[in-house]
């Protein structure tokens, strides 16, 4: 079965990003496909590569990047939520006249249409948030 996931809570906040990740791993282990994870609201903070958690803590951002690379998952960050929170890829940094970008490997910035499409093209869309 084809799943997509929406995450609307930031990393290291409560538990939503951890629940979403564990759900994704369990779904993949059962042979399901994760088509896309859409990061919305504070969830966009899951996609900054400048995150440096303590060494004995889980690295939530890298964890997403690695899972996406292993299983070909599309990690999409909502552009409007990203701009408000200072999450930029190379194109956006250039377009907004900023001196750097901070998007993590495997993530891309796009619009809400990607969430709608995930809802249409997936068998199930599961939301994790605050």
């Amino acid at each position: 079965m084809k799943f997509s996931i929406m995450v609307s809570e930031g990393p290291y906040t409560h538990q939503a990003t951890d629940s979403a990740y564990q759900f994704a791993k369990a779904a993949l282990a059962k042979g399901h496909e994760i088509m896309r994870v859409f990061f919305y609201h504070d969830g966009v903070n899951n996609g900054t590569r400048l995150t440096v958690p303590p060494q004995d803590d889980r690295h939530i951002v890298n964890r997403w990047s690695e899972l996406a690379a292993q299983h070909n998952i599309d990690l999409v960050i909502c552009i409007a939520a990203a701009q408000r929170r200072g999450l930029l890829d190379e194109n956006e940094a250039k377009r907004q006249g900023k001196d750097a970008n901070n998007i993590a490997p495997g993530f891309r910035i796009s619009g809400l249409g990607q969430l709608v499409e995930a809802g249409i093209q997936s068998d199930r869309l599961v939301v994790f948030g605050d």
């Binding site: 538990q15 629940s19 059962k30 199930r124 869309l125 939301v127």
Partner: protein, 98 residues
């Protein structure tokens, strides 16, 4: 429909919303994260969950993390993340009550 509640009933009214408006036919309730507190024995929410008219599931890792293994009310079903996936696959729609 599978209804998912991830907050304690003492923090938000998400669970009350499910119990008030959810259609019971073919529905199930899954409690995750702090939502599992709703299923504790002798709690203020025990009676309303018993009267929910739909099967109630709790996510075991979240129950374990909170030390509630031996304090759950009767009649709730424990699932791991794999069981969570099966519940999602087994219902046509999934609604997270945030």
């Amino acid at each position: 429909m599978l209804h998912i509640v991830n907050k304690s009933p003492f923090d938000t009214n998400a669970l009350a919303g499910v119990l008030r408006v959810a259609k019971k036919d073919g529905a199930a309730l899954l409690l995750i994260e702090d939502g599992v507190y709703a299923a504790t024995k002798n709690s203020a929410t025990e009676a309303s969950l018993k009267a929910a008219g739909m099967p109630v599931y709790v996510l075991q890792p979240d129950v374990d993390a909170r030390g509630l293994q031996s304090r759950l009310m009767d009649g709730v079903n424990m699932v791991d993340y794999g069981g969570f996936v099966d519940l999602v696959a087994g219902h046509d729609n999934v609604q997270s009550w945030l």
